[in-house]
């Protein structure tokens, strides 16, 4: 995809674009807020990566400016300010996601994918991945016609993974989206949930649907 990186730290900007390019994306960079805003206005991008503190014009002002002109390109805010209050501020300004420095590139990439990939429309009533079906109306889950009983949170977790089928979901993304938790617990609580879900979804079937990407996260899909 076409990505605009607005970041004044040249080293960080180069690290980011090299990695994005190696993942097959086309990247343009801007080193200050004004130039970044001009680029975001004049060209079409799939996603913007905006550092919060920039010379000339700060990141949140850029996003506010774009939103006021109905330019709704998804925007990922990067910041050294890690407080929850700052995160809420960033999302209120029109940012679609917020990531605190230092971050792992895999985390950023997974979040950018989640921002841009087409997902099931919100009014869908039935999610399907391979032979797995999840009914959003009566909350029934079945695989190959066999009913699977899930607890409420397991259902939410599976729904989220199915809506983003094929995309890597990191631990922090799952914590935020499924449990509304914005800190990182020290113990790997998500791992426990995934293995329980796996037992129910995958154990009795030949093809595994839930996959682990080591050190990054999980995804749900037919590809083994």
């Amino acid at each position: 995809m076409q990505i605009l990186v607005i970041e004044d730290d040249i080293e960080a900007s180069r690290y980011l674009s090299e990695n994005l390019v190696s993942h097959g994306h086309r990247v343009e960079t801007a080193a200050d807020g004004k130039r970044g805003l001009a680029l975001a206005k004049s060209k079409t991008y799939n996603v913007l990566v905006v550092d919060r503190m920039l010379p000339e014009l700060d990141g949140l002002s850029i996003i506010r400016n774009l939103r006021s002109q109905n330019i709704n390109t998804p925007a990922m805010v990067l910041s050294a300010l890690g407080q929850v209050d700052h995160r809420i501020e960033g999302l209120r300004a029109g940012g679609d996601d917020y990531l605190v420095k230092p971050y792992a590139f895999s985390e950023l990439h997974a979040r950018l994918e989640a921002l841009t990939r087409r997902t099931a429309p919100p009014d869908t009533t039935l999610l399907t991945v391979g032979d797995l079906e999840l009914n959003l109306v009566n909350h029934k889950v079945c695989r190959q016609g066999q009913a699977i009983r899930l607890q409420p949170r397991e259902f939410c977790l599976l729904e989220y993974l199915m809506r983003h089928a094929g995309q890597i979901m990191t631990r922090t993304m799952l914590l935020q989206q499924v449990w509304d938790i914005n800190f990182d617990p020290k113990t790997n609580v998500i791992e426990a949930h995934i293995s329980r879900l796996r037992r129910k979804i995958d154990n009795d079937f030949d093809v595994c649907l839930i996959h682990t990407v080591r050190g990054v996260g999980y995804y749900l899909g037919e590809r083994a």
Partner: protein
């Protein structure tokens, strides 16, 4: 004048003459001067020299200029205006009664001198009293100053001595002393943290450095990749420790003020239970909840959630095999209490205060992962919510409670 005139009319000239002579001899304050002359202006009696030419005998007080030669010799001083009164008596004798201006001036001067000395004495007394009172006050201020100087020189243990008089100065000194206690505590805390940061961060940094160093000499690509991965993990650990320290510092200083409001504590615990229940199952632990629904406290949802999560993680970490963790939430007398109890080894009562400090890890916990910051954050969050953090024996195990006093307001308590 009237009385002399009457004397003359009743008793005759001789009596008058006698009376004037007697009166002329008088001295002292209010001394009068007299002159009795015959019809041809010849002096008959009195202490004035002669009749001044410009004094009419009309019984009216006039200021008459007396030349030096007319001034009685016993009066000191030069020519001056004298107030005098002249009158004609029965047999054409003329009489003057007068008063020396010099005397009036003397009285004036005397009263001035009197007033001056009274003023002087009063001022002296006032100053003396002021000095003694002031010396008392200044002495006590000096004591405070001296203490302040010693403290500034580095001796933070010094305190302002109290006199035991229970006056304003003792009140001020007590206040200053408690402020000094606070500062002392903060400085000690900071010193401890600096030491611990140095110690606890040097460990992963050294480890990371050694790993990167060994990558240089590793031949196999697979092995070097593994070493790099581990170095990245070390790096993440350092970042996590820094983030925890930062969060504790922000919470303690009260800079995290956003997101305050009535927070559903029951909901937070239910959410966390849903998160940790799977882990409890995996580890063969029993996690049970006994909570009153919809209990609200005034606070920050994120911080409360993280604090309770830290307590849960501790309970998980130190639980024995097949152990039980119980989370209780109830409200008594407008106080909301969250209790997390495990049946692990617990913490000896002597250590309970110590474990709330940053980076403190008990000997028994050395082999488990962790940075010793979990309870410090809980303490900071409790303090900011004006909640009590209570560590008790669970017989066996540890019970940690957060006791919230419910405030009617929705604003964060002042810090």
């Amino acid at each position: 004048m009237e009385s002399l005139q009457r004397l003359h009319n009743l008793q005759g000239g001789d009596a008058l003459l006698k009376a004037i002579r007697v009166r002329s001899q008088r001295s002292g304050q209010n001394r009068r001067y007299y002159l009795l002359v015959s019809s041809n202006k010849k002096k008959l009696a009195g202490n004035l020299i002669a009749w001044p030419a410009d004094l009419p005998a009309d019984k009216k007080v006039r200021n008459i200029w007396l030349a030096p030669k007319l001034i009685p010799p016993e009066v000191e001083g030069d020519d001056a205006y004298w107030p005098m009164i002249g009158a004609i008596l029965g047999d054409n004798k003329h009489l003057i009664i007068s008063q020396s201006v010099k005397d009036a001036e003397d009285i004036h001067e005397y009263s001035l001198a009197m007033m001056g000395s009274i003023l002087g004495i009063s001022v002296f007394l006032a100053l003396t009293m002021g000095y003694f009172l002031g010396r008392n006050v200044l002495g006590r201020i000096d004591t405070i100053n001296a203490t302040a100087h010693t403290i500034m020189a580095g001796d933070l243990t010094r305190r302002v001595p109290l006199t035991g008089k229970n006056d304003e100065f003792d009140e001020l000194s007590t206040l200053l002393n408690s402020m000094l206690d606070c500062i002392d505590q903060l400085v000690t805390g900071m010193r401890q943290v600096t030491d611990n940061v140095a110690h606890d961060l040097r460990k992963p940094l050294t480890r990371m450095r050694n790993r990167l160093d060994s990558i240089l000499s590793i031949a196999s690509e697979k092995a070097s990749k593994e070493a790099i991965e581990q170095a990245i993990n070390d790096c993440d650990e350092i970042v996590r420790t820094f983030n925890s320290l930062l969060l504790i510092a922000q919470t303690e200083s009260g800079t995290r003020r956003g997101g305050w409001g009535q927070t559903n504590l029951s909901k937070i615990i239910e959410d966390l239970e849903s998160l940790y229940q799977a882990l409890a199952n995996e580890q063969g632990l029993s996690l049970t909840l006994s909570i009153t629904p919809n209990q609200f406290v005034d606070g920050n949802k994120e911080l409360l959630s993280q604090a309770i999560s830290n307590l849960l993680e501790n309970a998980f970490k130190y639980s024995i095999k097949n152990g039980t963790i119980v989370v209780k939430l109830d409200s008594i007398d407008n106080n909301t209490r969250v209790e997390i109890a495990d049946d692990g080894p617990g913490i000896a009562s002597a250590q309970r205060k110590n474990v709330l400090n940053r980076f403190v890890r008990l000997e028994e916990a050395r082999h488990t992962p962790g940075n010793g910051l979990g309870l410090s954050l809980v303490k900071a969050v409790a303090d900011q919510h004006q909640a009590q953090l209570i560590l008790e024996d669970n017989n066996p195990g540890l019970s940690i409670s957060l006791l919230f006093k419910n405030f009617p307001s929705t604003t964060p308590p002042p810090k």
